[in-house]
Symmetry: C3
Subunit: 307 residues, 3 copies
């Protein structure tokens, strides 16, 4: 079964991707870097971006990708300006909006939201962030970035650091990586460690991983460190937050400890996890992730929406 056929109902979870699927979509993403070739591929198609939770980055990235394929956008940017306020269920919203478009991108605060949407929708649904659950297209663009910034996925030593409990990006990324021969170092304060269900999944896929609290000791081992934002608001005790915060400001001095080909990533937005003084280092590729997001999402949209 080819990619188009397999994902015809949408992109809901990273768990649906095997190695072949990933390699295929990264190949397609690379082809999508040619701006001219596919500029009319989705002419006449409409993508609905339903953002029940606010987002700058992900929404604008999808919209830009859709436009660069010749398609058009409708949507809303906040649960406030929608029928939700009048008490409508998600299922009803989907069964209405599917009549207005050829595909739906959804971000919602509940974990099962994208799956539910796909169940009710006649058109393909793309999960652009389902609560603390998943964010599969972010993980795809992260892999695409790694590959094109000189890293090899097989044999990769990757640190994933920050809010591993609630971070949906982290979940989808580690799931996708489970299809490759990687060593993962999960770095977080105890309170924000990966949930058991996520670890169970990785164990079942025989992924080699370690959980640690400090990143400095392993800096010279890593090929890439993927930093995520620690959400201050999760902490009941502000002193605990302050204790933790100290571990996670990646600085110029840290960068010196890393290998020559080391890369530093972050899904953004960041607050203070990475010191701005190293923004211009060739090892810092977090703004390039935004760049690689466009061809990755063009690839996803072209598979799901083209005739």
């Amino acid at each position: 079964m080819n990619f188009k056929e397999k994902f015809k109902e949408g992109i809901i979870s990273a768990k649906d991707f095997n190695r072949e699927d990933i390699e295929y979509i990264l190949k397609r993403a690379n082809e999508m870097r040619d701006d001219k070739k596919y500029r009319d591929l989705l002419k006449g198609k409409i993508l609905a971006t339903l953002f029940f939770e606010p987002s700058t980055r992900t929404r604008l990235s999808f919209e830009s990708a859709m436009i660069r394929l010749g398609g058009q956008i409708i949507g809303f940017h906040s649960g406030d300006v929608s029928s939700i306020k009048k008490g409508e269920t998600l299922a009803d919203t989907i069964r209405t909006v599917e009549n207005y478009c050829d595909g739906i991108v959804i971000r919602h605060s509940l974990e099962g939201s994208a799956l539910l949407a796909a169940k009710f929708s006649k058109v393909p649904v793309i999960n652009a962030g389902s609560g603390s659950g998943e964010h599969p297209t972010q993980a795809l663009l992260d892999l695409f970035t790694m590959v094109h910034e000189g890293l090899k996925l097989d044999g990769l030593n990757i640190g994933i650091m920050g809010d591993l409990k609630y971070g949906r990006t982290v979940h989808s990324l580690s799931i996708l990586l489970s299809n490759f021969d990687v060593n993962i170092y999960f770095i977080s304060p105890k309170e924000l460690m990966l949930r058991n269900r996520d670890k169970d999944y990785l164990r079942q896929k025989e992924v080699k991983y370690k959980e640690i609290e400090k990143y400095r000791d392993i800096l010279n081992v890593l090929d890439v460190l993927y930093v995520t934002r620690i959400q201050k608001e999760r902490f009941a005790d502000i002193e605990e937050y302050d204790r933790v915060k100290g571990f996670y400001i990646f600085t110029k001095d840290d960068l010196k400890e890393t290998k020559d080909h080391f890369k530093l990533m972050h899904p953004l937005p960041r607050v203070d996890e990475i010191s701005p003084e190293i923004d211009n280092s060739p090892k810092s590729i977090f703004f390039k992730q935004a760049y690689y997001g466009i061809p990755t999402r063009k690839a996803v949209l072209s598979e799901l929406l083209s005739d």
Copy 2:
């Protein structure tokens, strides 16, 4: 005088439509179901969607229809993010925005808003909901749905149920139906009965109607039941609301009492007026209304905005 000429200033009230106008626009709507034929009709045209009150359904429906005709959209989704907050009058907003577009769709909390907008605008204005007043394109798509789901307007026995006092959809629908030989059963708690001015209009047009409080007795008479949301917030007395609520949960058992060709409609969003257990019945056509909305609005836009 043809439709285009008659409505060149816009679509403000269902009262402006005679039988011939309705039949013409429904015929055009049917032609608009061909997605390919008119895809460049409004190329180069811009529609401004000015939603001073939030809306998912209506706004996205208009925007999708405009895009499917090759046109483009500008607009805002909430009175919060506009010059209104700075104290601007509606007349000034219109005399500004008319310079940026070829047509305006407006939703506003005041009843006379669309009429006022049309008075000041050089470009056609479409009323997408004026307070408790009217919502004429919803009524047009409702008729289009009925006709294409096998109902005949002449001789139709229709129940219209729910908030008949404040429901703008109900007002426009009953006004359009007054051009046909229909029997209307207005079903509502006393507090939410049709206003006198609306009844005066129907009497003057010699419409056969009855006002009742319970729908169960007439279920076997109806060809179609049009349910609307009862807005809890209108009730001063919560006990009164609770008393009323019981009448208006249409269930599987109710459906059994209906004729074979009976259809159940709702402009949506619904809260709990229709039990989800019957969503998949062929008699339930409320999600199809969203589908029929696109060709109906394409027809309206093409008449008003094409050269």
Copy 3:
């Protein structure tokens, strides 16, 4: 150095324009009044409209101009629905969004915002209002309006009235006018006079100006009066506001005192500075400013974004 080359990083301040630049862009704006000729000029280009502060007029004007050149739009309308809430810096937002688009239009509450954005952006940035600082494209369209409504910039006697302290439109307009042989009458209550730094700039450019409190005495001298909104919220003392307010309701009687070719302008929105009874006078050209804004912004966008 031609315009395109000089402004390749964007339009940030009116101070960057010399007389030749202004004359060039007004000439281009005039050519842009032909709707057909340039309708595909920016096909395939994406403009990001980043409005951290709400706006109807300016945002919709830019979006309409972009669409009329064949381009497309992404963006957000309020700082509320963006990553800013998560603590992201403006520099990070820009370095992300630049990957999604070919140009950025930014409105932000801080004076240095547009300059900062341009410093970090790979794509051209247009300042659509930076706090109390500047709003250069508004000033360009104001000049374009004057010229095409029969006024000559050299020798012009212009009154600029209202909030001269915080009004960004006023700042950019007087800076642009400093390139011509004009007499400016700055009319405001003492509390809202031009800031010293703005006056220093004008003196250095040898602009002839006077500061006065009442406009009635000079009405017969003026070729044009440019009125701006007095923002009630600036006044600590409501009595002071009430005292001031009286000066600034321009009425029918005022209009009678003016020259035959006199023109009354306002960037809008207005509250009550201009009495609606004179809206239809040929001397009132404030709604025409919105009209002239489209070709002016088309000219700016075409210079910055075309290949």
